[in-house]
């Protein structure tokens, strides 16, 4: 048997030793996750290039084409004041994706630091923060979001804030739990032993090692946030007319269900596909980052 030189052996093993690379390879091999990622990318491109690909302006009315069924001129039909449904669905992707991503960023930027603090410091502060989180979790997600949006005022920005705050407790809980199990690892103890300050231990040694489950949760939370934004807009507490959003389009469509059902089909289908895509991607990410879950 020939002895393999140490350096050569390390070079060969290195790619496999990087957990992110391994996870990415596992993710690429999951068909569902790749289908989800493709659709997510498709909707992101649609949202970015909306002015270029949309056949009409989303708020342009045409009184000669009120509630017209799908045709060559209007592929997905028109609404109650002659606006092109396809153009509104295309522009609606902007509101939904923006709301999904920004709400989750709000949850992350508040929830992760609080969770890190709670888990790392422990003691009375941890107990206090967890009781507050319990109290927030006791208020059903959408009901808390409705109440917050109602008191803040109905518009898309406030809806995003309301969704972000309502979704935050899940991130606090997750980050805290991960911090609690990571802070007793040998490498964290070693970092403490060599005299690293607390902020450095948390930011350099704990945070990078707990990012994987947080990323999975964030992907799944985007799906929930998109549904929540659509729900708030459907109730009239999100995007305000005449700007398009899938939820507000469904709110209008409910008054014309028997006369113009196409007004309800397409925005609902768009929400379904984009939420399904994020769920598929999130499930795939979870399996790729934590194979025990499969």
């Amino acid at each position: 048997m020939t002895a393999v030189p140490v350096d050569t052996a390390r070079e060969r093993e290195l790619p496999d030793d990087r957990p992110w690379k391994r996870a990415l390879r596992r993710l690429v091999h999951r068909r569902g996750a790749m289908v989800g990622a493709s659709f997510v990318l498709f909707f992101v491109l649609v949202a970015i290039f909306a002015p270029m690909i949309s056949p009409y302006a989303p708020i342009a009315t045409d009184w000669g084409a009120v509630r017209k069924a799908p045709s060559w001129a209007h592929w997905l039909g028109t609404d109650e004041i002659g606006r092109d449904v396809l153009s509104r669905v295309i522009f609606g992707a902007r509101a939904s994706l923006k709301a999904g991503v920004i709400s989750v960023l709000i949850s992350l930027s508040l929830g992760v630091p609080i969770g890190l603090l709670s888990g790392y410091v422990g003691g009375f502060l941890d107990g206090l923060l967890m009781r507050i989180v319990d109290a927030m979790l006791a208020c059903p997600f959408l009901i808390l979001a409705i109440a917050l949006a109602a008191f803040l005022g109905p518009n898309l920005t406030n809806a995003m804030i309301a969704i972000g705050i309502s979704a935050m407790p899940a991130f606090i809980r997750l980050t805290r739990a991960q911090t609690l199990s990571t802070k007793v690892e040998d490498y964290v103890e070693a970092a403490k032993a060599v005299g690293n300050p607390h902020y450095r231990i948390v930011l350099r040694h704990i945070l990078p090692n707990i990012l994987a489950p947080i990323m999975v949760q964030a992907t799944l939370a985007i799906a929930a946030a998109i549904i929540a934004e659509a729900s708030l807009s459907f109730l009239g507490l999100g995007q305000q007319p005449p700007d398009p959003s899938w939820g507000s389009m469904l709110n209008t469509a409910k008054n014309f269900l028997s006369l113009a059902p196409w007004m309800a089909w397409w925005p609902g289908l768009a929400i379904f596909v984009v939420v399904l895509s994020f769920n598929l991607l999130g499930d795939g990410l979870r399996d790729a980052l934590d194979p025990k879950h499969r």
Binding site: R131, I132, D134, A135, M136, L137, A138, C139, P140, F141, L142, I143, L144, I146, A147, L148, A149, A150, F151, L152, G153, A223, I227, A230, S231, F234, L235, G236, L237, L250, A253, K254, L257, S258, P261, A264, P267, G268, I271, F272, V275, L276, N279, L280, D283
Partner: protein, 313 residues
């Protein structure tokens, strides 16, 4: 056991305290001076001063919280400014409607979710398993108000089998009551069924690989008996307790479902209150749902504790 129960119940007190702070804090998000808003367009200084005194707006924030919290403890959740009725009375009126809808939705969720989860676990890796997983993803990704529209289009507009909206009290006409609630209950139960299916599947997979199930099979027992008696009975313990935690999703879903089918329940009460700027009602509804959630959570924990001998030991 008693220590566990006392400790578990004791945790409720600080949680409820923080819930009350959150709900009271909602008022503070309102832009501007509430007295000015209530005084109307004339803004008579005497009226404003009277309103400030009446609603304790001239007191410091902790005092106002104290007055509000004492009122809540006495059952005074305030008064609806639109309907001129105590909030508690409104909640009592609307609660049975939502409770009936939620109860039927749970039946739908159990009837679909548990058999689908069992089948999926028993036929792990087969087409049935794949189909059940697709169903779960469908349930989790479909906005329930859209599903409501699709059902209305099919069963009310196209086929004319079911009423598209409205509510008939069961004491008035039970058959009509059930006809009006079939679609909303299915819409509301659909997403919960997906969650139940996932819980049941993972619990069954775990149970079916346990030693006692292998022993039951080795004894030559019928596979149906193994799955239902030895498998499902044990797998159901975590499923039922986890199911209780879906109460929040049920109430959130009820808000939208009641809006789609125009059902005069709890959800419609909060949405109408939001648009009428009836903030006492909004606060009252959030407080009642949070309290109900905490109590249900406690019951689920106690039930889990009682049926799981390892925890009692």
């Amino acid at each position: 056991m008693l220590t566990y129960l006392v400790r578990r119940i004791a945790i409720i007190i600080p949680t409820l305290f923080f819930v009350s702070i959150i709900i009271f804090g909602l008022q503070q998000l309102l832009p501007g001076d509430p007295a000015l808003a209530l005084a109307g367009e004339e803004r008579d200084p005497n009226v404003i001063a009277f309103l400030r005194h009446k609603y304790h707006l001239d007191e410091p924030l902790p005092v106002r919280y104290g007055i509000w919290a004492i009122g809540v403890l006495r059952g005074d959740l305030g008064e609806s400014i639109r309907i001129n009725k105590p909030v508690l009375e409104l909640v009592r009126e609307k609660l049975p409607v939502t409770a009936e809808l939620a109860g039927l939705a749970i039946v739908v969720a159990l009837v679909i979710g548990i058999p689908a989860g069992v089948l999926s676990a028993v036929k792990n890796g087969s087409v049935i398993d794949y189909g059940a997983n697709v169903f779960a993803l469908w349930g989790l990704s479909t906005p329930n108000f859209w599903l409501g529209f699709l059902l209305i289009l099919l069963f009310s507009v196209e086929l004319g089998w079911l009423p598209a909206s409205g509510f008939v009290s069961p004491s008035e006409n039970l058959k009509q009551n059930l006809l009006t609630l079939i679609m909303p209950a299915f819409v509301l139960g659909n997403a919960i069924a997906a969650v139940m299916m996932r819980h049941t599947r993972s619990a069954m997979l775990q149970v079916l690989s346990a030693d006692y199930v292998r022993t039951a099979r080795a004894k030559g027992l019928n596979e149906r008996v193994v799955v239902l008696k030895h498998g499902l009975r044990n797998a159901l313990i975590p499923v039922v307790t986890l199911g209780a935690l879906e109460f929040g999703a049920l109430l959130s879903g009820a808000v939208l479902t009641e809006q789609v089918f125009t059902i005069p329940g709890f959800g419609k009460l909060i949405v109408d209150a939001v648009f009428n700027r009836d903030y006492a009602v909004v606060q009252g509804v959030v407080l009642c749902t949070a309290t109900a959630y905490i109590i249900l959570n406690l019951c689920a924990d106690i039930a889990y504790f009682l049926v799981n001998p390892r925890l009692r030991a």
